[in-house]
């Protein structure tokens, strides 16, 4: 099976000897979120996750929760965000990150088709574990969406290859025991999950959750293929830094990863 656009972009970075940078942007947050996504791509993100706000995001910490609430209060909807993405040339492959009920409510087939129609390659559903993923994997497969699965520090060894076998795009190593958000120090588990995943898969192995600074990104990607940065970027959006300010932050991550 050939890699989809999301996976192809990450493999290209890896094959060139670089470290992958995936950045999370909350969809519908402010009038300029789409411009922010473009700025993120221009600043060197290999791919972008567009967060589709959900009312009850149990895997997200205070920063992304607050961004969710702001976007929802401003009228953000899954269809509105996907409509905005349709035909918008952001400059990097896209994945949507949302919660299972958003897909479930729309109907899994329709949801997968609507992602494809909007030009979104991948999808991350952090409350959908392996055992429950069957129907979604099937719908995603039919529509041609890359379903990106998470692998947690609590997973026993035998679970990791099972997750990697069905994940597409990359495998999302959860960097710590906890929800999304910036931490003062990188957890030892961030390095550990990458170290455990690398030998069991050829998929790009990226670590996310708790990666808030360029230094932490470098450290976390040393044993894997790269990182996902979310809350640090979303905080900049909430603070009103605008596309330019967010782009500067992303560029600092890119520079640090390139310098190693």
């Amino acid at each position: 099976m050939s890699a989809g656009p999301f996976e192809a972009a990450l493999r290209a970075r890896r094959d060139a000897g670089g470290k992958c940078l995936v950045v999370y942007v909350t969809g519908g947050l402010g009038d300029d979120w789409l411009d922010t996504a473009r700025a993120v791509a221009a600043a060197g993100a290999d791919a972008i996750e567009i967060g589709v706000p959900f009312s009850d995001p149990v895997m997200d910490g205070p920063t992304i929760q607050a961004a969710n609430d702001l976007a929802l209060a401003a009228g953000a909807t899954p269809t509105g965000i996907l409509d905005a993405l349709r035909g918008a040339d952001v400059g990097a492959p896209l994945a949507v990150m949302t919660y299972y009920n958003i897909a479930f409510r729309m109907g899994l087939e329709r949801f997968a088709e609507s992602l494809v129609a909007a030009g979104v390659s991948g999808c991350i559903l952090p409350d959908l574990p392996l055992e429950e993923a069957g129907p979604w994997l099937e719908a995603a497969g039919v529509a041609g969406v890359e379903p990106i699965l998470l692998a947690a520090p609590t997973a026993p060894d035998e679970r990791l290859p099972e997750i990697c076998a069905v994940s597409r795009g990359f495998v999302y190593g959860v960097g710590l025991l906890g929800v999304t958000g910036v931490r003062s120090e990188l957890a030892a588990s961030a390095v550990e999950i990458a170290t455990r995943l690398k030998p069991v898969t050829d998929l790009p192995v990226l670590v996310g959750v708790g990666i808030g600074t360029p230094e932490q990104a470098v450290e976390a990607s040393a044993h894997g293929d790269g990182v996902i940065v979310g809350s640090a970027v979303v905080q900049r959006m909430v603070d009103g830094a605008g596309p330019e300010g967010v782009g500067e932050l992303v560029a600092s991550f890119r520079a640090a990863l390139d310098a190693g």
Binding site: D56, F104, L128, T154, A155, R159, L177
Partner: protein
């Protein structure tokens, strides 16, 4: 007794389903913990020493069995024969203690040192804080900001019992958000913490495990009602938020020719107004908008102020074995006062929902025998009622 085609409540399928409802929709981090919990619960439940420990606590600490009281004055007023199962007389004032003692014992057995819980009205939080004090465990209870304000007394009780109470400030700042915060805490502390979930919602095995811990009240009510009536009652009624007290009493009568009625608050009627959705770990009826955003429930009762419902109730509704009816806040306030004056029993606002339905339906219940689960006592609600009634 008429021949009944009804069956006892079933165990869930291996993937945690009751019919089309249930499952285990949790972040990857929590999957091993849910799987371990299921294994440990299965092992404990067939272990005579675990069962003996639990039975001992239920009898000597919680005060079981609770009586079944015939309400002569209300029976006369309604024209039916009304009995109430007195879960209000349990230690800590509600049925919640049955489940909490079971889970706390199990958590101890699993080597956990900390209990995490959500609470709405505070009854489950108080019960969890109580069990943690008894068993020398750390305890952290999440409660929505709105509920902290309207259930001040229970917040103080939990702190008095040594628990930490954390205020959930997100979303509707009620029970739903307290569950979100408890799950987030559990994601971060899963190694040392057990999530002591308070109702029959959540991921598998919670809906089944919590029901099993509450089956004791259903068994007692069945025996007690048959001892008086010589047969099971015509109707069993209980309020439903997540649905733990209701599933407890339904479990005792599911195989009888008894009509089972769950009463939902009109502002939080997941079965009445919801469509299938996934939140807090399982597929069930859920109040949500066209995009799948969970809607905020609105009920006078903090314990029922929840937009979802346990998956087994969704199944019992879909299969037709039980029916679910809404009552308004105004009807509940009236029932709260009615039971206080007529029987000298101040019911919890949650339990008053069940009475409100009986009162409204008195014409159709005439001549019937009715068992209502009086799931909790109303002491916690008197301050709120003082405001409402003045």
């Amino acid at each position: 007794m008429t021949e009944s085609a009804n069956a006892p409540l079933q165990d869930p399928s291996p993937d945690g389903r009751f019919g089309d409802f249930g499952g285990q929709f949790v972040p990857e981090t929590l999957v091993p913990a849910c799987q371990e919990l299921e294994r440990e619960f299965r092992a404990a439940w067939v272990d005579p020493s675990f069962r003996a420990d639990l039975d001992h606590l239920l009898a000597e600490y919680a005060g079981r069995p609770s009586p079944l009281t015939e309400c002569h004055n209300l029976s006369e007023e309604f024209g039916c024969r009304l009995f109430v199962k007195r879960e209000d007389l349990n230690h800590t004032g509600s049925h919640k203690i049955n489940n909490v003692l079971g889970q706390a014992l199990l958590a101890k057995r699993m080597g956990k040192t900390r209990l995490v819980a959500e609470t709405g009205a505070g009854q489950h939080g108080v019960a969890t804080a109580t069990a943690a004090a008894l068993m020398d465990m750390e305890c952290c209870v999440f409660m929505g900001e709105v509920d902290v304000a309207r259930q001040e007394l229970n917040v103080f009780r939990m702190r008095l019992l040594g628990a930490e109470v954390r205020t959930a400030m997100s979303g509707s700042r009620t029970l739903k958000d307290a569950v979100n915060e408890a799950m987030r805490d559990w994601v971060a502390t899963v190694v040392e913490s057990h999530y002591c979930l308070g109702s029959v919602n959540g991921p598998h095995p919670y809906p089944w495990m919590v029901r099993t811990f509450h089956e004791v009240l259903g068994r007692e009510a069945r025996d007690q009602s048959e001892a008086v009536l010589g047969a099971p009652p015509d109707v069993v009624v209980a309020c439903v938020g997540g649905g733990s007290n209701a599933i407890g009493i339904f479990s005792g009568f599911a195989d009888a020719p008894t009509e089972l009625v769950g009463v939902e608050p009109a502002g939080g009627a997941a079965i009445g107004r919801g469509v299938p959705g996934v939140v807090h770990g399982s597929v069930s009826y859920l109040m949500q908008d066209e995009f799948g955003q969970v809607q905020e429930a609105e009920s006078i009762s903090a314990g029922l102020d929840y937009p979802g419902v346990g998956p087994e109730h969704a199944h019992l509704s879909a299969s037709g074995r039980a029916r679910y009816e809404p009552v308004t806040d105004a009807e509940v306030v009236e029932a709260f006062q009615l039971m206080s004056r007529a029987e000298g029993i101040i019911p919890a606002l949650e339990s008053a929902h069940a009475l409100a339905w009986i009162s409204r339906e008195r014409a159709s219940l005439a001549g019937k025998s009715v068992v209502m689960n009086l799931s909790g006592r109303g002491d916690k609600d008197v301050a709120q009622m003082m405001d409402i009634l003045s």
